[in-house]
Amino acid sequence: MKVLKKVAFKTLGCRLNQYETDALVTSFHNAGYHIVDFGEEADVTVINTCTVTNQSDVKSRNTINQAAAKSPEGLVVVTGCMADHYKQKLESQEQITYVVDNDHKSQIVSLVDGHFAGEILHPDQVQGDRFNFDTVQKSLHTRTSVKIQDGCDNFCTFCIIPSVRGRAISRPLDDILDNVRRVVDNGFKELVITGVNIGRYEAAGLDFEGVLEKVLEVPGDFRVRISSLEPDGFSDRFHELFTHPKLAPHLHLCLQSGSEQILLKMRRMYSAQYFMETVERFREAIPDFNFTTDIIVGFPGETDEDFEKTLDFAQRARFAHIHTFRYSRRSGTRADRMPDQVPGKVMTSRSEEIRKLSESLRLEYMQSMIGKKQRVLIEKVSGKMMASGYGEHYLPVEFLTDDNTKNRFADVILTGIKEGAEPVMVGKDSSLQSER
């Protein structure tokens, strides 16, 4: 019997990296490799790195060392943003077999296949393409991402990504629609539109709203969620698209700070006032629209007053979840050279305040959803026939079912909240209810 070669993966950083790893897992699976957990001995270990902060660099380096120590005879393939940022340095390290930048990431399988066939190529010798990833088939997720864009031109002062991921590029519409059709054919029910800065999509005269409209027109029983979005440049059409039944009424809109002064120092492309007007405008049309966000605490020069403005803003915007980041210095960014860096203790305490606020706002939002119907995409069904998944508003929901089929939609009336460290909505399958 042929012994399959084992491949392990480790992903650090953003959702885009996760999507690209999922696609690589699919490619290796299709090519006949056996996927094993990271930490197990493997013939190939692929580490999809992140370099967004100095801490990310440390984590990425530790992961590389860990992989090399576990499988000293195996290939170690380092890809992702760190591979772009420190290419030469990483290439000089003996424990790393291949350093593959983001341009060539989609071609890792052919590189590794070639290696085992005795054809050793430098990654730059294979054809590069930011969008040429396999359609995700073998995945633990019920939702999959569709990458429409890469790179960013915004140059926020805290962010190294434009220097690493490169200039904004948009995937041609035909490729996107082909990808959508294939993942829908593969049985995915929820597609997450993703990229580095998807709001800046621009190709062949089509903007972000235009491409979203085309994706929504693709036939099939699926819904579309938008991954993290920068709050600038929305047109009226964007708001209107949310009346489409396939588009989930949820946006992860990155605030970063509620202080106008800090937003200017971050060189964000919007004001706090504009952000709030956007939130209010959405909620006028869809009152239970779910907004979640990212907030950075401890940006250089952030005073107590600035932080209070952020807390106040978050309360008024009623975010159902806040992903809090302690500001982390990144060499090579403008913010790293700014005076008035905030002490770690202050950042910790501010981070804790935001976390508490986030928890209470989340419970408030969940309370407001009791009695409403959600179309839940079932991800798991336990032995006791307890189904769990997410509704269109991106709240976790649990309910009893008489059908243990996963990856299907169920209409559920929300009846309460199961409190805990990670509160969950509980509900009743409306089809069961109507039969009684």
Binding site: D153, P162, R167, E260, Q261, L264, R334
Partner: protein, 220 residues
């Protein structure tokens, strides 16, 4: 908008000193295309250090010009000032979206508000669009920071001097805006330090400007 990264050679043509701390760095264009308001990442070739500078020259000019203020203990601005004709630069970009919302064909009335070297993108815009309907309010300490005032049409360039007694208005930009003497515009673009922009935005909003009429670019 052009989004290609320039990879061609950029050779220093001239360093023109404007005052003790500010100068214009002029270099060969090398095929670089840009939209007024965009900036470049520039450093001495091989130094490994780059800083962002807005383009000062017009989009049709043969060379690229940057308006640069030397920073005390700065690494790049001092190095660039000492470059000689014929030396090579490392140039990345152009980047940014500032001023890209202007529709010159609509004849919009534009108000440009700048502090210090924040005037660079407006200079580039006016050089590229000589027929534009604009007015510039330039916040400076003294008149030696009024860079190339002759490049603007008569009556379109207005200085607010915070230290010297010369200039069109003695005081800060914000004092001038609060005086209510400036006529309303269709769009207002602000470029300069974040404190000026923050204060000016408050005043402009209070005087009735909507957020979609206000655009900012922060200089550090």
């Amino acid at each position: 908008m052009n989004t290609t990264t320039a990879v061609d050679q950029h050779i220093v043509e001239k360093v023109r000193n404007l005052n003790s701390s500010t100068y214009i760095l002029k270099f060969s264009r090398g095929g670089l295309e840009f939209t007024p308001g965009q900036h470049l990442n520039v450093g001495k070739k091989g130094s490994g250090q780059h800083r962002e500078y807005s383009i000062y020259s017009g989009s049709d000019s043969d060379s690229i010009e940057l308006l640069i203020k030397e920073v005390d203990d700065g690494m790049v601005s001092n190095q660039l000032r000492n470059l000689k004709r014929g030396e090579e630069l490392s140039v990345k970009g152009p980047y940014g979206f500032f001023l890209t919302d202007i529709r010159p064909e609509k004849g919009e009335k534009l108000l440009f508000i700048a502090s210090g070297t924040g005037i660079a993108p407006f200079h580039s815009y006016i050089r590229s669009n000589p027929g534009a309907n604009y007015r510039i309010i330039h916040g400076i300490r003294d008149m030696d920071e009024a860079y190339d005032p002759e490049d603007y049409k008569k009556g379109r360039y207005f200085t607010c001097t915070s230290r010297g007694q010369k200039g069109d208005f003695h005081g800060r930009i914000t004092d001038y805006l609060l005086s209510g003497a400036e006529e309303p515009a269709d769009k207002v673009y602000l470029c300069g330090n974040s404190s000026m922009i923050y204060d000016a935005m408050d005043i402009l909003r209070a005087s009735g400007y909507r957020h979609d009429q206000l655009f900012t670019e922060v200089y550090f």
